[in-house]
Each structure stands twice: as C-alpha cells, then as structure tokens.
C-alpha cells in the first residue's frame, strides 16, 4: 500500500481546510489529515497559509527545521525544494511552512497558483491549512481548491461562520468562477464533539449541524485529551498512538480518498471501575 502509489502519476488534488472561525481545529485537522493521507502512501504536502502566525510547524513538530518559507518561494528568494521540509516519520509527507515575519499581503494569487501547480506535479494531495477569518489569506487558501473540509464545532458561532465560508467556497473560488467547472467538493468535519453533552441536550447533534449546513459529513472528531497531548509533543494525532480522536481522523481520511466508511461516533473510553481503583496500566 505504501509503495505502489509512488509509481503512479500524482493525483494533484488541492484540499483546503477552512472554517471561518478561529480555534475550531483547522491546524490540528490539517496535520492529522495530511499525516493520515501520507500514512496511506499518498504523496502529501501540507501548506500553512496563516502568514504572520505560523503554527503548523509546531503542530507537525518541525519548527526547528524551518529555513525558508512559502513567502520566500513566492518572492523568488528560495526554490520550492529548499522550503519543503520532509517529515521525519513519514517519507511521503512534506510541510511547507509560512512566514512568521512578513505581512499577509506578501501572498499573491499568481504566486500561490505557481507554487500549487509545481506541487501538483509531485504530490497526490496538497493540503492547505487556512487562517481564520475571511480575509486575503483565507481567500487564497481556498481559491484554487478542488475540495474543502469545513471544520465546525457544534456551537452557534462556529456553525454560522461555516455557513458563511460555504457560501464563499461556492462563489469566490476559481472553480466557482470557471464556466463549466465542477464546484468545490465541500464536506464538514465536526470537531470537539461531546457525546455526553449531546445526550443531555446541551450540545447540538451531528444531524442538527448537518441539517443547518446542508453539506455532506466527512467525519466527527470527539473532544479528546489526545489532541492537546499530541500538539504538546508536535506529533499529528494520527501518529501519536491510539486514541478516539486518531481513529475518527483515520476514518475521515479514508472517506476523503473516496472509500466509504461507516460513520461511527467514537467516544473517549471511560476508565472502568477496575482501572479507577488500581490506576491505569497503559
């Protein structure tokens, strides 16, 4: 599974991970999804579009290996090959970090298009980690996308912003502006889902969110301690040992590649009485 894909021509699919609202888990999801795709043997690159607020490098654990960045490449100060960081855990995964210092106007539509076109000749999946908001960085992250993952918390402001972003995806993107092009395939990824609170009516259900947003569901990521643990150590959650969140991301990634997986809402396993009495062994 890992090697056979390498001989095929690259798929060159551009996927934007977006949300509108900040703090809902875009970067966490970008890291998990790109690592999940790479784990399946797809040549994958993940790009940080959040110019000025670089964070993907920390979540991916490569912050000390950044020499050149996305903006250096756009401005012609470095070659794309120099800026790409090869992941140490997965040889199919690369990271293109963003600039910490430049302002967001450094991103240009032509520059982004050129880089994406170059990446399409080498990678199966190009995952674009969008900044929050609907300003220039977010617009450019989604503009050239073939698919979109809209990260949404089951919470009113997040759902409202997701609705807004879905509107932008269907109007302010290259596919929307190109006559005869298929629209961007947008799917919602519900994160920080708490089954217990849903059951007592304190949190909107998956069906509530889907009914409001009216787009297909890519997956449901449960609220999980594994997420913070993974970000603490700079490891995408799917590479950081088994957890409910990792399983949910793996399922979402499988769906992203076009395979149907039954939708299950995995919860965090509660320690049983035995475990509580005698402490955790694992």
């Amino acid at each position: 599974m890992t090697t056979e894909a390498k001989n095929n021509p690259p798929l060159g699919r551009v996927i934007v991970i977006t949300s509108g609202k900040g703090g809902v888990g875009k970067t966490t999801s970008s890291a998990a999804i790109s690592a999940g795709l790479a784990k399946k043997g797809f040549r994958t690159v993940v790009i940080d579009f959040d110019v000025g607020l670089r964070n993907l490098d920390m979540i991916m654990g490569c912050e000390r290996r950044v020499v050149f960045d996305f903006i250096n490449v756009i401005q012609g100060d470095a070659k794309l090959k120099q800026a790409l960081i090869k992941d140490k855990r997965l040889d199919t995964l690369s990271i293109l970090p963003t600039s910490q210092t430049r302002d967001k106007d450094a991103l240009t539509k032509d520059g982004v298009e050129q880089i994406l076109n170059e990446l399409k000749t080498e990678f199966d999946y190009i995952v674009c980690d969008s900044p929050a908001g609907i300003e220039r960085g977010a617009q450019l992250a989604m503009y050239f996308a073939d698919e979109a993952v809209v990260v949404t918390n089951p919470e009113v402001s997040s759902v409202r912003d997701s609705d807004r972003v879905l509107g932008l995806l269907s109007s302010q993107t290259k596919r929307a502006e190109t006559e005869g092009a298929d629209p961007i395939k947008a799917q919602v990824l519900i994160t920080r889902y708490d089954q217990e609170r849903v059951e007592i009516g304190e949190m909107m259900t998956v069906d509530d969110v889907l009914e409001i947003l009216a787009v297909p569901l890519l997956g449901v990521i449960p609220e999980s301690k594994a997420i913070l643990r993974a970000s603490n150590v700079g490891t995408p959650v799917v590479l950081d040992g088994p957890s409910a969140a990792a399983e949910a991301y793996e399922d979402a990634v499988t769906r992203l590649t076009g395979t149907t997986v039954e939708m299950r809402i995995v919860g965090e396993r509660k320690p049983g009485l035995f475990q509580r009495l005698f402490g955790r062994t694992a």
Binding site: E155, V156, V159, R160, D163, I200, G201, E202, M204, I212
Partner: protein, 92 residues
C-alpha cells in the same frame, strides 16, 4: 397528568435545541441576502428619512433612529423620530 408532576420543576427547553432554532432563523436571513455581506441600506434609509422630514421640520441628523429586528415569522423596521419641542416652521 401524572400524580407527581407537581414536584417536577418546569422543564427548561434544551439549550442545544435553542441553538439550532436560533441558527436556522439567522441563517435563513443571511443566505437570502444576495451577494454576501448585509445589504447595508439602513444608514442610507436613515439619511433619506432625515432629509424628508427636514423639508417640514427642523431636526438634527441624530433625531431619527432606525432599527431592524428580524424574526422567524416576520421582521420589523422601527423608526423613531424625535421632534423638537416647538416645531420651527421652515422659512420660504
């Protein structure tokens, strides 16, 4: 009605349901707006109303207050006009 109903507290609506209802109402309005951002006509409407009233009554720019309230079944436009104590008839 059950015998023990009187000891039960009146049931609060579940907050998740409230969230869903609020979102559905809001988004129905937001989506119906063409071309994205809110049709920003309230300030212009306010200026027009001020101009219309000024033909007859001397009022200030801030004496007209326009407020929009969107509801599920209907929306209302509230226009509050503060007139001066003794309306000064316009000369000419």
């Amino acid at each position: 009605m059950s015998l023990f109903d009187f000891i039960r507290k009146p049931r609060q609506p579940k907050s998740a349901q409230t969230a869903k209802d609020r979102l559905q109402i809001l988004l129905a309005h937001e989506r119906s707006r063409e071309g994205g951002p809110e049709a920003d006509y309230l300030p212009m409407l306010q200026a027009d109303i001020v101009a219309a009233i000024r033909k007859y009554v001397a009022i200030g720019d801030k004496d007209v207050e326009v407020r929009m309230e969107r509801g599920d079944q209907m929306s209302s436009l509230e226009i509050n006009i503060e007139l001066p104590k003794t309306p000064a008839p316009k000369a000419g």
